[in-house]
Amino acid sequence: MLTLKVNGRTMEVDVEPDTPLLWVLRETIGLAGTRFGCGQGLCGACTVHLDGVATRTCVLPVSDVGTAEITTIEGLSADNCHPVQQAWIELDVPQCGYCQSGQIMAAAALLAENPLPSDADIDDAMTNICRCGTYGRIRKGIHRAARLAARTQ
């Protein structure tokens, strides 16, 4: 049994310790919003926050999570009210939407660390793949979210 803290709740899971966190979240815990894209940490579809840091979970054995607090897309906000989600709605960022949980978690982690990122900062932080080519709107969305967050503070 491993103990995990996910979206503010503590839970025990009975899985092989080498199971990637992604599959524990999706299949054992039932949080399917975090998605599988490549299995090699290359695409970012599986990004969640570990103690606030954007982390790719398809290559992270669950036994390595330790006591870190896990936040998934489901835990980012209860009602799409996070500034990144609000900006994503304003700009209709998603197309197929499959990568967007990961994109949003990466963007939210960037803004938590750097509330007013430059284009260069966004270039460095946002390495997730989007096959629909929503990159232009993701960039605009992050700038917009930065403004929304500043307004609410």
């Binding site: 299949e27 799409n80 709605i89 998603p94 197929c96 080519g133 990159y135």
Partner: protein, 721 residues
């Protein structure tokens, strides 16, 4: 939408149980009369019911196309809602399950592809909405004893100048008693309230909360998990396997032999993967184990030698040039997957597919059940791009599900996906062009050589016609798209050249190929637009002026070129920057693009912006339209810059995103999209942005350096961003 709603059985129950109100349906063909709910059989009437107006005013619309990011869930709903003058906030949508009522009017099967959802349904869905509106108005008019023509509708409320008003919900039951109009008249464009506006997408809220259901998210009680290893060499088979070690792994339930691979079934995806790792498989590589990309290029080059050896001896100037583009993979971010539950008498599927007909056909072949009996429920698609027109993974899922009692979800790894795609085929073309004294082409001869997937597509979607040698009789009708003028070309070669001659050869190359966003146009848009640029330079004329002369009789080509020239400041790039132009029509839509580039001191390519002008007729939703063209440009760019599938030893060399390097955010240039105002019926948008990119970029590189790039990708020429 929850998984339980993604089930046809449930869907029928809901429909029959909740049949209060007005249900309106129509058959699969555009000209069928709109059938009254009251006149068809109980089950059939629900199946045909595209639109349900409930007594509480809620409206449910069955979206006939699959949503893969292109925005049809919103755009098609807008067509119906606008005609109804419905309250947009009261509309819910459901994806249509497999049923002939939802066949694509252009294809006569239930498939989403070819950028034609909006254009195919443009008339039909507006008539559907207009019929609903007319019935609701008539019901109100009868209630008030007034003439229908005196009533007006806004926001789901019918009003009369006397001050009376009733909501759609209050009128729904009375309207259901009326006979639908035979030929409802859609609105004139001046009365559109939604069409033409950037209405927010219906799917955005679920896609940013993690709540949208993709195929990979389907979760059924007792469900098992499967994954596969297929023969790495195309055409290979399993020679032998030893399952003892796999079966001893925790949670592994079953090892299943497939046509060209093995599947492991377990009680979790990770355990299935570990089981597969433990499985010993020996493949018989078959006849293709020594084939490679260099062979294929030699075959294509040899095909080109079948043209005239010494064409146009008397021409003032002549060009004789060859272009080639490589195999490309689709790689939608959601790997191939399908959930199946098979019993001796039933087969239920939950699958992200563009092709419900093909999925049912594949399941029918495996189970022996009639195709009409197969239940296909479609989820959101984590990208399609043409890959999900294929049903190879459906066939596998059903084969595996036959071996277990429980429902089973098959999910491929990225590596399987990369190495068992249906690739954009490697293609080569040769142009022999004679220019007259004024620099215009007097003769334009084209030869193209490529493998084809035409026969395979017919055999798999219409197994009953697989004996017909269509390809042998007709050739591949798509191969000369944009390059030829035969009667089968819906996108003919546009330039007014003296004499056009085309020839083609279908090559026997043992690599699966299929439709890849913009299909043949991704190559024809490149080679045609680069060749015409070569002609312009040979004639010492500006590439825009040169094209305008040869397209003088084509106002829509002129329209997009003039708009892009204006928006891109054609001919006046900032100092140190260079421009390239390309224009191409595909899926009915005209797109002109200008690439603006420069080179850094150390020789790296910088793409500053891609400016696009698009004529797609009426723009139903400008915000979605922009996103489609923008995304198609990014798609075209990565395929121009560096993406390439190569074959060695009969197998794909690339395996994941580290060696198939798709474009990422920091590399994506500014893309500007401008639309030509138009009242023409809408045409395609998902694909037409892609074909011009490659030539716009290579023409700009020529303008900057004098180097003419005729084979893709650019990374092969030392050109990198």
């Amino acid at each position: 939408m929850s998984v339980s709603e993604l089930s046809r059985r449930r869907f029928l129950q809901l429909g029959l149980g909740a049949s209060a109100g007005l249900l309106i349906g129509c058959g699969s063909h555009e000209l069928d009369p709109i059938a009254s709910f009251a006149t068809t059989r109980e089950e059939q009437r629900f199946r045909n019911a595209w639109l349900h107006i409930d007594t509480d005013g809620g409206i449910n619309f069955i979206v006939p196309s699959t949503e893969m990011g292109q925005g049809v869930q919103t755009a098609l709903t807008m067509l119906v809602a606008d005609e109804m003058d419905a309250d947009w906030s009261r509309i819910r949508t459901t994806f249509a399950p497999y049923d002939p009522a939802f066949d694509n009017p252009s294809y006569f099967i239930q498939v989403t592809g070819g950028s034609n959802s909006v254009s195919s349904y443009w008339v039909k869905l507006r008539k559907l909405g207009a019929a609903a509106r007319a019935m609701l108005v008539e019901a109100a008019a009868q209630r008030w004893n007034v003439k229908p023509g005196e009533c007006s509708v806004a926001n789901s409320v019918v009003s009369h100048p006397s001050g009376k008003s009733l909501g759609f919900g209050e009128l729904a039951e009375a309207a259901a008693q009326l006979v639908p109009p035979d030929d409802p008249v859609p609105k004139t464009p001046d009365r559109f309230r939604l069409i033409g506006r950037p209405v927010p997408r219906l799917d955005t809220p679920a896609k940013i909360s993690g709540g949208a259901i993709y195929g990979i998210d389907v979760n059924l009680p007792g469900m098992l998990y499967a994954t596969v290893a297929q023969s790495p060499v195309f055409g290979g088979k399993v020679a032998s396997f030893d399952k003892a070690a796999a079966m001893a792994m925790p949670g592994v339930r079953k090892v299943v032999a497939l046509e060209d691979g093995m599947a492991v079934v377990a009680d979790s995806h990770w355990r299935a993967l570990k089981g597969l790792e433990a499985l010993t498989i020996t493949f018989d590589n078959g006849p293709n184990a020594n084939r490679n990309s260099e062979d294929f290029t030699r075959m294509l080059e040899a095909s080109m030698q079948k043209m005239d050896k010494e064409p146009f001896p008397d021409a003032t100037q002549r060009l004789d040039v060859e272009y080639q583009a490589p195999f490309l993979a689709h790689q939608p971010l959601e790997p191939m997957n399908c959930t199946a539950h098979v019993t001796p008498t039933s087969c239920r599927l939950w699958v992200p597919t563009q092709n419900l007909h093909g999925a049912a056909a594949a399941a029918a072949v495996v189970t022996g059940l009639p195709r009409q009996e197969i239940e296909v429920n479609v989820t959101h698609l984590g990208g399609g791009f043409g890959r999900r027109l294929e049903s190879d993974f459906v066939k596998q899922a059903v084969t595996i599900a036959k071996e277990v009692e429980q429902p089973v979800r098959l999910l491929w790894t990225r590596e399987e996906d990369m190495q068992h795609d249906f690739y954009r085929p490697v293609t080569r073309a040769r142009f022999q062009i004679a220019l007259g004294a004024d620099g215009t082409p007097e003769e334009w001869h084209t030869r193209i050589a490529s493998p084809s997937s035409f026969q395979k597509a017919i055999a798999e979607n219409f197994p009953e016609f697989s004996w017909l040698p269509v390809q042998a009789l007709l050739g591949d009708v798509n191969m000369l798209a944009g390059l030829g003028t035969s009667f089968v070309q819906s996108n003919p070669f546009p330039y007014a050249v003296g004499k056009l001659k085309t020839e083609d050869e279908i090559m026997d190359i043992p690599v699966p190929n299929g439709s890849h966003r913009s299909v043949q146009h991704s190559f024809s848009g490149f080679c045609k637009e680069a060749a015409i640029d070569e002609c312009a330079h040979a004639a010492d004329q500006d590439p825009l002026t040169y094209r305008r002369r040869l397209l003088a009789e084509e106002p829509r080509y002129l329209g997009v070129m003039d708009l892009v020239a204006e928006k891109a400041d054609w001919g006046k790039p900032p100092p140190g920057r260079f421009q390239g132009l390309a224009v191409h029509r595909s899926f009915g839509t005209y797109v002109a693009e200008v690439a603006e580039i420069s080179f850094t001191e150390d020789g790296a390519l910088r793409i500053h912006r891609i400016v696009c002008a698009v004529d797609c007729g009426v723009v139903v939703n400008p915000a979605i339209a922009e996103s489609q063209v923008h995304g198609a440009v990014i798609w075209g760019l990565e395929n121009t810059l560096r993406c390439e599938i190569t074959i060695q030893g009969g197998r794909v060399e690339q395996s994941n995103f580290h060696d198939y390097e798709v474009l990422r955010l920091h590399e994506a240039p500014d893309v500007e999209v401008h639309f030509v105002p138009s009242a023409e019926p809408p045409t395609g948008l998902g694909e037409p942005g892609a074909p011009p990119v490659a030539a716009a970029l290579t023409n700009a590189i020529f303008a900057a350096t004098g180097r003419r790039i005729r084979t893709l990708p650019l990374s092969r020429h030392g050109l990198n961003i």
